[in-house]
C-alpha cells in the first residue's frame, strides 16, 4: 500500500498519523479488498461491530440484519456501530439489499429512535470464503475501525434475537471482558462431545474452562481481535475450517478476561456445520489437539484451573424423550475396537488398550466406560497426536469408536438422571482430567519410541 494512500486513510479515520501505527493498522494488504477498505474508511471509528458470515440465504440474512439493528437500537442507542457481512458466491447479496427494501415502515420506525447511523459493510468474495478467511476479514476490520466490542453471530440461528446479541456485546462493552462464550439450554443428551471431551479436557489443559468452545456466536474485544490477528496461524487448515475454538483457546490460555453468557435455547442451525461425525471430530478434536501442539509453551507450566465467570444462569438441561438407538451405538463401539485393534495398539498405552478390550467383552447392561479409563484414553491419543505415531487425521478418526463407547455408557448411566446429578458427574470428570494431567505431561514429554 502506498504512503499516500496510508495518509489518506489515516486522515479519514481522524487518528494520529504515527507511521508505525498506521502501518500496523493497514498491514493486511492482501486481506482487505479496495472496495471493502473504501467502505470501512467511510465508516470511521466505531464502538460496536457485529460480524456475520452469510451462507447465501437471503431470508436468514435479512432476519439476522434485522435482529442486529434492533439490538443496536434497543441496547446501544448512543454508540457508533457497524455490521460486517462476509460472504461470496452467486447467492450472496452483498449488503442484503433485500433487507433494505423489506420492512420499510418498520425500519423507519427503528431509525426514528436512532442517534447514530448503523453502518453496513459488505465483504464480497468471488466464492464463499472459508470460516478462517471470513473471521480474519472481520478481525481486520475490527482492528482497523478500532471497535471496542465485537460479536460474531450466525444468520442460520433461527432464534437470533436483539437480546441475544446484546448478551454477547454487553459484557465486553460495559464490563471490559475480552471474550464472551455462549451458554445454552440444551437437551441433556445433546452436545455429548462438548460435555465429555472438549470442555473437561480443554479446562484441564488450558486451566480455564469454557463449555461451548465450538459455537457460531461469541463476543470479543478489539484487544483480543488485534492479538489474534498478529498470530501467524491463518494458513493452518484447522484455522481455515473452525477458527472459533482457537480464538477461545487463545483467550483462555493468555491473560484475557473471559466469561460465559447465557443466551437461551440452542437450536440446530439450519445452515450450520454438518453433523457427519467424522467431519465433526476432524474439526473439533483435531483442532483441539492442534491447539495443544501450537500452545504447548503456555499450558505445560499451568498448575491449577481457574473458574470463568458466568453471567446469567448456568447451562440448563432439558430431558424430553429422545429417539436414540443405544444398541447400534454399542455395536459400533464393539465392532470398531475389534477392527481397529492394530491402529489402537500403536496409539494407546498397552495397559489402557488392555482395559478397553476387557470392557468390550462385557454385556450391554453391565457395560461402563469409567472416567479414569476415558481420561487416560484421551491423553494417550493427545500424546500420540503430538508424537505423530500414525497419520494425524487417521488418529483422530480412530477415536470415534471409543467416543461411541463413552456415549453409550453415558446414555445408560444418565437415562433417569436429573440436571443436578449430571452436573455433579460432569464436575467429577473435570476433576479426573485435572488429576491425571501429570500422566499427559509425562507421555507428552517422553521421547517417541518405535513400537514393534
Amino acid at each position: 500500500m502506498s504512503d499516500e494512500r496510508r495518509h489518506y486513510v489515516a486522515g479519514s479515520f481522524g487518528i494520529p498519523q504515527f507511521e508505525s501505527e498506521i502501518s500496523s493498522a493497514l498491514a493486511e494488504d492482501t486481506i482487505l479488498a479496495d472496495d471493502l477498505l473504501r467502505q470501512l474508511m467511510s465508516v470511521g471509528e466505531v464502538d460496536l461491530l457485529v460480524g456475520i458470515i452469510s451462507h447465501g440465504d437471503a431470508i436468514t440474512d435479512r432476519h439476522a440484519f434485522h435482529a442486529i439493528e434492533q439490538s443496536f437500537q434497543e441496547h446501544f442507542t448512543r454508540e457508533r456501530a457497524v455490521i460486517i457481512n462476509v460472504g461470496g458466491g452467486d447467492n450472496h447479496e452483498g449488503d442484503a439489499s433485500g433487507a433494505a427494501h423489506g420492512d420499510l415502515a418498520e425500519k423507519n420506525m427503528l431509525f426514528a429512535r436512532s442517534l447514530r447511523t448503523v453502518h453496513r459493510v459488505s465483504a464480497d468474495f468471488s466464492a464463499p470464503p472459508s470460516a478462517g478467511l471470513a473471521l480474519r476479514t472481520i478481525l481486520t476490520a475490527a482492528d482497523l475501525l478500532r471497535a471496542r466490542a465485537c460479536a460474531m453471530v450466525s444468520p442460520g440461528t433461527t432464534n437470533l434475537t436483539p437480546d441475544r446479541i446484546a448478551s454477547l456485546l454487553n459484557p465486553v462493552f460495559r464490563e471490559r471482558f475480552d471474550f464472551v462464550a455462549p451458554l445454552y439450554t440444551r437437551h441433556k443428551f445433546q452436545g455429548l462431545l462438548a460435555r465429555n471431551l472438549l470442555y473437561p479436557m480443554s479446562r484441564a489443559i488450558f486451566c480455564r474452562g469454557i463449555r461451548e468452545l465450538y459455537s457460531d456466536e461469541w463476543g470479543f474485544s478489539g484487544r483480543l481481535a488485534s492479538a489474534c490477528l498478529s498470530q501467524d496461524v491463518w494458513h493452518e487448515e484447522s484455522i481455515k475450517t473452525r477458527p472459533e475454538a482457537w480464538m477461545a483457546i487463545s483467550a483462555i490460555s493468555s491473560d484475557f478476561r473471559c466469561c460465559q453468557a447465557f443466551l437461551g435455547p440452542k437450536l440446530q442451525s439450519a445452515t450450520g456445520p454438518a453433523t457427519d461425525i467424522v467431519e465433526v471430530f476432524r474439526h473439533t478434536v483435531g483442532n483441539l489437539f492442534w491447539c495443544m501442539e501450537s500452545r504447548q509453551s503456555t499450558w505445560l507450566d499451568c498448575k491449577r484451573s481457574e473458574s470463568v465467570k458466568t453471567l446469567g444462569p448456568e447451562q440448563e438441561l432439558t430431558s424430553e424423550p429422545a429417539d436414540l438407538d443405544r444398541h447400534r451405538i454399542f455395536e459400533m463401539f464393539r465392532n470398531g475396537v475389534a477392527e481397529l485393534e492394530p491402529i489402537l495398539s500403536s496409539i494407546l498405552d498397552p495397559e489402557t488398550h488392555a482395559e478397553i478390550k476387557d470392557i468390550v467383552a462385557l454385556e450391554e447392561s453391565a457395560f461402563r466406560f469409567g472416567p479414569d479409563l476415558w481420561v487416560r484414553t484421551l491423553y494417550d491419543f493427545a500424546a500420540s497426536h503430538h508424537h505423530a505415531v500414525i497419520n494425524r487425521d487417521h488418529l483422530v478418526q480412530a477415536l470415534i469408536p471409543l467416543y461411541r463407547g463413552m456415549t453409550f455408557s453415558f446414555l445408560m448411566e444418565h437415562s433417569d438422571s436429573s440436571a443436578a446429578e449430571m452436573e455433579v458427574v460432569n464436575e467429577s470428570l473435570c476433576v479426573e482430567f485435572e488429576r491425571r494431567r501429570p500422566y499427559l505431561i509425562e507421555k507428552w514429554k517422553a521421547k517417541m519410541e518405535v513400537k514393534s
Partner: protein, 233 residues
Amino acid sequence: MRQTILQGLEQAYSNLVRMIADFIPRFLVMLIVIVLGLLVAFALKYILRIVLNLTKLDRVSEEAGASRILRIAHFTSMTALLSRSIFWLTWFGFILIGLSVLGVAGLQEQISRLFQFLPEVFVGILILFLGLLTANFLSRTALLAAVNAGHRSAKVFSWSIRFLVWILTISMTLEELGVARQTVISAFSIIFGALMFGLAIAFGLGGQDLARQLLERYLGNTKKAKDNEPQPL
C-alpha cells in the same frame, strides 16, 4: 624332440610367470579399490545417518505409516534402511569397479551391463516402496471410514484396496525391470478386468437391492438416513 618339449615348458612357465606378474598388481589394485570402497561406504552411511536424524525422517516415516511396513521387513527405522542401502550400493559399485580392473575377458561386458541396469533396479525398488506405502495408507483410510460408518465388513474393504494397490505396484515394478513385459501387462489386464467384471456382476445382479439403495442415496435427492446418535455438539 626333448629340446622342443623343454622349450615349450619354458615358454609356458615364462607365460605363467608373466601372467602372474601381470595379475598380482591388478589383484592388489582390486583389493585396494574394494577396501577403499568399504571405507567410503561406511563414511557415507555414517554421514547419511546423521543428516537423516537431523531432518527427523523417522518421525515423518512413522506418520506416513511407512515404518510399520519396515518393521515387517525387520528394519528398525527408515534411517536404518536408507543408510544401509547407501552402504551396500556404494560398496557394490566399488566391488564392480575393482573386478573390472582385473581385465577378465567377458566380465567387463557383464559389469557394464549391470551398471546400465542399476538405475532401473533403483526405480523399481522406489516404485515398490511407494506402492506399499500407498496401499497401507489407502487401506487404513478405507478401514477407518468403513468402521466409522458402521459397516460390518470393514476389513474386507480395507484388504480389497490393499490387494488392488499391491497388484498394480508389482505390475509396475516388473514392467520397469523389463521382466516378461508383455506377459505382465496381459496378466495384469486379465486379473484387473476379471476382478472388476466380477464385482460388477456381484453388485448389479447379486446385490440389486443394495445397488439401488446406494445409487438412490448418492445420486438421488433423498437425505442420508439418520443413525439416531446424539448430536455431538
